[in-house]
């Protein structure tokens, strides 16, 4: 049943996309289309390096084929650590194989920007991306929201971040390890740089018997299976699990979910810079955003429908965090080990 619902969703999404593409094709001279796509894509091969989830990559590539049928998109997809290691090796070997980099969190992408590996340019659609979610070399495509997930059968679930340090949930809270997941590091950056939390927030969590697991998804699994009562996880995976019938619920933190943006940029030595820019810009268009939203992520543009957002959203001051990874992680590790 779940599957058919999912298939139905996908069909609807595809229909919407097809109609959108048809409209775009019919109204070739409409301002929206000409503004959204710089020049024509031309034809050729595009190498996409990404850590976005496979279903999202598939949806975007399918939607892009409608707009640029003569471009063949070759995807290298891997978790952030492996993707970054491959790029680091290729940089030293002399030639990055990718044209476009579509990452999961701004911090790892910033690492390449600061080595001048990313092209500085202005996508036509950049104006539609909120200022806090873009730089000169990369732009947000979607938001990952860190929320609280808890067991469905709880009488008095936590409602805000500080509740997780409440003795009522002693030994029952799980958090993802910022040393592994970029999104978890974004959260660490947010708490560490906010006066009302600071590193003391993590100390209180540790004092309350909080468990650190490796991946964001392990928090969700642990809560669903009853190993933990609550924890921090990403809204999309929690929504997916709930839709399938997992016994968990989302508590959208009263003071705001912590939003991490997933950026796209173009490599400075891209072999096909025109196609690369065309594709990167496509991710920011309404069509690209709709494809992203069809897989359950919150689009970066507010004029594209996405999943239901349960309340406030806050985000770290990203430029402030860009060069502080080592320092923050080191302090974090004195608290949670590893």
């Amino acid at each position: 049943m779940t599957d058919s619902a999912q298939a139905a969703r996908q069909r609807v999404a595809m229909t919407v996309l097809t109609i959108g593409a048809l409209l775009a094709a019919c109204g070739g001279s409409s301002p929206a289309t000409s503004v959204s796509q710089p020049g024509s894509a031309g034809s050729g091969t595009l190498n996409l390096y990404t850590s976005a989830t496979q279903d999202t990559v598939d949806a975007v590539v399918a939607a892009y084929a409608e707009v640029a049928p003569d471009v063949s998109v070759e995807v290298f997809r891997a978790p952030t650590g492996e993707l970054d290691a491959r790029i680091a090796a290729e940089v030293r070997e002399g030639q990055i194989g990718g044209d476009v980099l579509w990452g999961t969190d701004p911090l790892s992408v910033q690492g390449y920007a600061s080595q001048d590996l990313l092209e500085a340019w202005t996508p036509p659609e950049a104006a539609s991306v909120p200022d806090e979610y873009q730089t000169d070399t990369f732009w947000g495509t979607r938001l990952l929201n860190m929320v609280i997930v808890h067991q469905a059968a709880m009488d008095d679930p936590p409602a805000d971040w500080t509740d997780l340090t409440d003795p009522a949930y002693a030994d029952g809270v799980a958090i993802p390890d910022p040393g592994f997941a970029g999104s978890a590091f974004g959260v660490l950056g947010y708490f560490a740089t906010m006066d009302e939390y600071g590193m003391d927030y993590y100390r209180s969590l540790a004092d309350n018997g909080t468990t650190q697991v490796q991946a964001v998804a392990e928090v969700l699994t642990g809560v669903a299976e009853g190993q933990f009562v609550a924890g921090m996880t990403l809204d999309k995976s929690a929504r997916d699990a709930i839709a399938q019938g997992s016994p968990v619920e989302i508590a959208w933190p009263a003071s705001g979910a912590i939003s991490i943006y997933s950026p796209v940029g173009v490599f400075a030595d891209a072999q096909n810079p025109d196609i690369a820019k065309h594709f990167a810009n496509f991710l920011l268009t309404q069509e690209g955003q709709a494809a992203i939203a069809s897989t359950g992520w919150q689009p970066i543009r507010d004029d594209v429908d996405g999943p239901e957002i349960g309340g406030e959203q806050v985000t770290p001051d990203w430029p402030e965090l860009f060069d502080r990874q080592e320092e923050l992680l080191e302090e974090y590790r004195t608290i949670f080990g590893g």
Partner: protein, 541 residues
């Protein structure tokens, strides 16, 4: 004098040259490239590895790997004596059950243990029981140790079959030695080269395994060298972190190579060699208690975790109790998509090619240098095995990225560099046990070196060669850390497809894929095991 076995004149010189060239290209050059990049960052990467947290991680890695090795050797020996020296009812089934953990990727077995014995696991649901300390070093040692038992078992059995000792053992018993004395003075010393080879492999595998320490160690704040390396890898867009990865990894290689070299020197200085005996007479039936213990052990460490995984794979959504109304096959459907089949073909081709090349190179590296140089070559070849897969993949990219990027060949290069030792060590171990007399006899009867190799050495080695090939095939089939870094649009492997499909971590789909992968490996392994049995019975049994 012993060298006469391997001395096959000019052919031997040629083989040695080929082995040296393969080593230089496949193992040495990627390592040198890594070292160049690491040194590029000055001494900082190495100093970082020696900071207090780094030392703690090194210590943790060392003692857990030592404990795992002991556990695996003990278990492997006990099971090997049981199945090889006694008549065991239901032997094929027991063999398959013993070897099953080998067929399961290690991150999957860690997952299986948490599903079975962890909080809210199968046992917890059924009986309110959970294994204390599962999250932390105890759990890591138990999961990795029980997972490594089949590796030790397979190598020990292959070694035993390369030369049967029941004759000598019986002689000892007839001369008045009790069972324990015969074991201590005859069977174990005879087996020593094989035990050392198995121990070295288990130790090296454990030192650079990542999945289990990550799943079981993180929640307890227990860091090993590999989890630290991976932690830095996750931030490798920062140059300092990337260089730290390389520094730590090279240090890990050094530690593993030194330890393996040291353990190889332990034990009897000259392995006892005797005559080849006649067919093994398995006449004594196994006692009821040892058999029950063996099956109990297999049930607890293999069958229950796998059953727990299977239940998870069949459950509609994570966290639902496995009641009939929540069961579904849909996860298997979601696990298979248009990418799975080409990826499967790639995986089978890669694993087959890697098994073939590794066995050929492994045999060449074990036979060609002769007895005196064999151990030194074992050490060289172990370099590739000692390095964590992700870092080896970085080295291969640095060394061959430009000409071979995105091809199956670059993955094969890395597989062979990594798994060469997996084939070489068992073959070298078995060779050490073969009495020189065998080939002298052939030579006396007029056979030249090559003919002696073909007619004497290869038939004796056949079971070991088959076991070595099987090991490489299985390891290559579920290898993921190398291929995820090296694959291209047309060269994704099955494990890569799995990792990519499940990255947001829906465990129901992940476990479905893991179950499918396990089934596949079992299907591939059964004919190989059967083949191995017919070879061994046909040739030396």
């Amino acid at each position: 004098m012993d060298d006469r076995i391997g001395r096959i004149g000019r052919a031997r010189g040629f083989v040695l040259l080929a082995v040296s060239a393969s080593f230089a290209i496949l193992v040495a050059w990627p390592l040198v490239r890594l070292a160049i990049e690491a040194v590029d960052g000055g001494l900082a990467p190495f100093l970082a590895a020696l900071a207090p947290e780094g030392l703690e991680a090194i210590g943790n890695s060392l003692w857990t790997a030592a404990a795992v090795t002991l556990l695996a050797l003990l278990g492997g020996l006990l099971l090997a004596f049981l199945t090889e020296h006694r008549v065991v009812p239901g032997r094929p089934l027991l063999l398959l059950a013993i070897l099953l953990p080998l067929l399961v990727p290690d991150f999957v077995s860690a997952l299986g243990w948490t599903r079975a014995f962890g909080p809210a696991g199968l046992l917890d649901r059924l009986a309110g029981l959970e294994l204390p300390g599962l999250y932390g070093p105890i759990g890591i040692v138990l999961v990795l140790g029980s997972g490594a038992i089949p590796l030790a078992y397979l190598l020990i059995v292959a070694g035993m079959r390369a030369r049967a000792e029941p004759d000598l053992e019986r002689a000892a018993r007839m001369s008045g030695a009790d069972g324990l004395t015969a074991l201590r003075t005859v069977s174990l010393p005879l087996l020593w080269p094989v035990i050392a080879a198995a121990g070295g492999l288990v130790f090296a595998t454990t030192m650079n395994t990542f999945g289990t320490p990550a799943i079981l160690g993180r929640p307890a704040g227990f860091a090993t060298m590999t989890t630290r390396i991976y932690g830095d890898l996750a931030f490798s867009s920062s140059e300092a972190a990337f260089q730290r990865v390389l520094g730590l990894a090279l240090l890990l290689v050094a530690v593993v190579v030194v330890i393996v070299a040291l353990t190889d020197r332990l034990g009897p200085r000259n392995a006892v060699r005797g005559a080849i005996s006649g067919p093994r007479g398995q006449t004594r039936a196994v006692g009821r208690l040892p058999l029950a213990l063996a099956w109990g052990f297999v049930a607890v460490t293999v069958l229950v975790p796998l059953a727990a995984l299977l239940l998870t794979a069949l459950t509609r959504a994570v966290g639902l109790p496995p009641l009939p109304e929540h069961l579904t096959l849909a996860n298997f459907g979601r696990a298979i998509d248009s990418r799975t089949l080409p990826a499967l073909v790639n995986s089978l081709m890669l694993a087959g090619a890697a098994a073939f090349v590794c066995v050929v190179l492994g045999a060449a590296a074990a036979i060609a240098p002769g007895r005196r140089w064999r151990r030194r070559w074992s050490g060289f070849v172990a370099l590739g095995f000692a390095i964590p897969g992700s870092v080896l993949a970085i080295g291969v990219l640095l060394a061959f990225g430009r000409p071979l990027r995105d091809t199956l060949l670059i993955i094969l290069v890395a597989y062979v560099a990594k798994l060469w030792a997996l084939a070489e060590r068992p073959i070298a171990g078995a060779l050490d046990r073969i009495p020189a007399i065998a080939s002298y006899a052939a030579r006396v009867h007029g056979a030249d070196g090559l003919a002696a190799l073909r007619t004497v050495l290869l038939p004796i080695l056949a079971p070991t060669l088959a076991a070595a090939g099987l090991l490489v095939f299985i390891f290559a089939l579920h290898e993921v850390t190398i291929s995820i870094l090296l694959y291209g649009p047309r060269s994704a492997t099955l494990a890569v497809a799995i990792i990519n499909l499940q990255q947001l971590g829906d465990p129901t789909v992940t476990t479905a894929l893991a179950v499918l992968l396990t089934l596949l490996v079992v299907l591939c392994a059964i004919p190989l095991i059967a083949l191995r049995r017919s070879w061994s019975t046909g040739l030396i049994g």
